[in-house]
């Protein structure tokens, strides 16, 4: 089986179309970053408080919004998270409500607001910690084990927590749901000290302003170092102009990927930056394959024009460029579809980046080489000596 066995497409002849295509996307992204959505920093970079809450029923967004407003959290953003059937809500406080003096203030306020109907003197089992449950059991001693029951009750507490988190996805709606895995006398004793709220906090992210600024700077530095690393390595392995062409190409990919996040108004988190750094490395792969072939063909086709050699090289490697990118794309797509909500931003960056990276190694990198050569000839210089393979 074979795709693209004998293609002969004039890629360089279409360079103006490619340029137009890239410009449209880059400029749209830049415009969105400047005038529309801005750069949608995730909580890692802007600072703030995110509380992910799972309800036992379909949450009422408006009621939640009103409750938060009532509690004084006027800027709380409330949005549904994951698929609707998961009943999850993301409550988002901005950095003003996340002071470093009392970092978890906002979180505590949110939880208190959600727990308004708590019966006095009892704690919430759905948000109770393992140690709190264990301490309660040791105090209460429902199994009449006497004083030496620490380990036994630790096991029971673990069974309760497992039953809640693994069995019921985090929210119990009735104590009876624990029957079977937990000792009946323990289950019977729970209502004395606990009640069941209709929600469970699944995940909390609180980032103070200082860390936000620090991470922003680090992300920028890491991206710059990555690009510089590519430039140096490729300049060393090929000629400097190859390095420049590759890095310009990768920068173009990065710009369009970040622009796409701005256009879609998706948060750029730490993991998205991780994906972008990976793309900086990976996008080069296709470019290197094409460059390697150009280098090889220059020795074989001494009489041909460079544009002819480049076109031939792209066509010869087209099949492997598409296959390698396609296979990586398959795995990334699996990640996007099945990998869950936590990784959604990360896999989205990879999905976009791999598509753009493959396109650009054909449409941007190679034409830059040819354009550079044409420019040298137009200035009346000799064409630059194209490199010989260094083994």
């Amino acid at each position: 089986m074979e795709f693209f066995s004998h293609t002969n497409i004039d890629f360089l002849g279409k360079k103006w179309y490619f340029l137009a295509f890239s410009l449209v996307f880059s400029v749209a992204g830049i415009f969105s970053m400047l005038f529309w959505h801005g750069i949608p920093y995730g909580v890692d970079f802007r600072g703030g408080t995110l509380v992910y809450v799972k309800f036992s029923h379909t949450p009422n967004d408006n009621a939640l919004r009103a409750a938060m407003d009532h509690a004084g959290l006027h800027n709380a953003k409330i949005q549904r998270y994951d698929v609707p059937s998961s009943n999850e809500v993301l409550i988002d406080l901005d950095v003003q409500e996340t002071s470093e003096k009392a970092l978890d203030n906002g979180k505590n306020q949110i939880i208190n607001t959600l727990e308004t109907n708590a019966p006095a003197g009892r704690t919430d089992l759905n948000n109770g910690s393992l140690s709190a449950i264990k301490n309660y059991l040791v105090d209460k001693d429902p199994m009449h084990l006497g004083s030496d029951a620490d380990q036994k009750y630790a096991q029971q507490a673990q069974a309760i927590v497992d039953g809640r988190d693994k069995g019921q996805g985090g929210v119990l709606s009735s104590f009876d749901q624990l029957r079977g895995s937990v000792d009946p006398s323990v289950v019977a004793s729970l209502p004395d000290g606990f009640f069941l709220s209709d929600f469970s906090v699944r995940n909390v992210e609180i980032v103070g302003p200082q860390v936000g600024a620090q991470l922003r700077r680090q992300a920028l530095l890491a991206t710059a170092y990555s690009l510089a690393g590519m430039l140096i390595y490729l300049g060393f392995r090929f000629e400097w102009i190859y390095g420049v062409a590759a890095v310009v190409t990768v920068f173009h990919d990065t710009l369009i990927t970040v622009g796409a996040f701005s256009l879609l108004n998706k948060d750029i988190s730490l993991t998205v930056i991780a994906a972008i750094l990976t793309l900086i490395g990976y996008s080069n792969n296709d470019t290197i394959v094409v460059f390697d072939r150009i280098r090889e063909n220059i020795k074989l086709m001494r009489r041909e024009k460079l544009s002819e050699i480049v076109n031939r090289s792209i066509n010869q490697t087209l099949s492997r460029t598409i296959l390698t990118a396609g296979l990586t794309f398959l795995t990334v797509l699996a990640l996007y579809v099945f990998g869950g909500e936590v990784l959604r931003g990360f896999s989205l960056a990879l999905v976009i980046g791999i598509l753009i990276g493959t396109y650009s190694s054909i449409a941007i990198a190679a034409p830059i080489l040819v354009a550079y050569q044409d420019w040298r000839i137009s200035k009346g210089k000799r064409p630059a000596a194209m490199p010989v393979r260094t083994k």
Partner: protein
Amino acid sequence: MNKNLLWQLLLIVGVLLAFLFGIFGIPQSFSGAGLLTAMTNRIHLGLDLRGGTHLILQVQVNDAINVDSDNAVEILKEQLNKRKIAFADISKPDPQNDPDKIVLKGVPADSRKDLLDIANDRLPEYNLTSGADNTWTLAMKPQILADLKNKAVTQAIETIRNRIDSLGVSEPTIQEHGLGQYQILVQLPGVDDPARVKDIMQSTAMLEIKQVMGGPFPSEQAALQDKGGVLPADAILLPGHGAPGTAAGDQSWYLVSRVSAVRGKDLRDAQPSTDQNGQPNVRFELTGEGGQRFFNFTSAHVGDSLAVVLDNKVQEVANIKEAIRDTGEISGGSMNQQQAKDLSMILRSGALPAGIKYLEERTVGPSLGTDSIRAGVRAAVYGMLAVLIFMLIYYRAAGINADIALLLNLVILLGFMGYFEAVLTLPGIAGVILTVGMGVDSNVLIFERIREELRNGKTPPSAVDQGFSHAWITIVDTHVTTIVSAAILFLFGTGPVKGFAVTLTFGLLANLFTAVFVSRVIFDWVLSRKQRGDALSI
């Protein structure tokens, strides 16, 4: 089969076994569950998968500097008085931002030499510079300043580790974080309610015993009025608990001596206990030296009151009936049993050299971790199946070759992680999936080149040979660029992201072995069984 090939096959089997051992160790049982436990014993799950709390905190190193410069101010005053040198004022103009800077004003010009002597003899850690109008500035020497700050961080890490260890959190991570920001990263697996742990870590636990010089006063203003508007120079005003019978939240204020008779470092032991009314309290014992000082102090002040001060709050005031040598107790307010236990543990673990501030807090509930594992594994399995099946269809028999290489790649990657005790995070699982996607690229590059050579009329053995040698350089280049990116990510990233960089790097390194060496050996083996002129299935 020739001998060379046999050795290569044996090498591959050896590597396979070695890395299988890396993943599983020697499993107790070979059932699915047994293997899973064996694996999770060696490859640790990150916080995002098992649930837990991740904190970044900052040591307020300026606190530690302020302690030192306060001391320097006292020494300076004492020496100036001793040598009868007049001065107008000694102050620290900006303790918040410039904690080591001390300004001395109005020293007569003829005392210059004396002043330099004092600085040289008694304050060698400071640089003394003269300014206009008989003003002198003392600032800590930069090297000593930096050392002191770093020491505060190391000491804070040590103290926090002691406290967390005594809380019984399993496998905590406590380490310096970031670059020169005096930050500490604390990861507490399984802790889903960080409030109590945070309080325990944050408590500076600075215990002092001071002489009571006045009070209790109902407010700061009342205390000032009582002293005619000016506090005595050797005294400070500290808040205490409300007097018995007042409403909770009401505070009283005490005037206590600036100098402490006993400090936290004089403590030898602290244990939870109960007082004569059965109320929980904390009983402490002093070291020999501290006990001697306490004895001297109490002997000299029989009839006076002493205050037990914790973190600049008066916990307890007691009348000194007789000289005491080495024990004391803290009750203060209405401590419950848990609080008494926590406080004595904190006191035993030692004081923090400086206050700490929380900068970042992330808590992953265990139910989310479970869901993440499920989603990650599902994505990995589907992504891998898609790639394996595609290779079989597209390259037929050579697809089997690629699939074997890929599976071995995974075994080596996971084995690496087992050997290096690397932590598997959710992005790390993504890194495993990406390794499959990127690793198979090497096979594609080689196979496409072989096909090209075959089209150009080469015989299968020579096509295989050419295919590998031409693709090799390209594969190295592509791997290096990706690994460079991953390395930078490792340097800058934290937690989950670091896990991703680790798996991706290990995976691609392993790929150089599997996609090139292993795949080549399999080709050679296939070719060795073929008759001359047989076609290669690729």
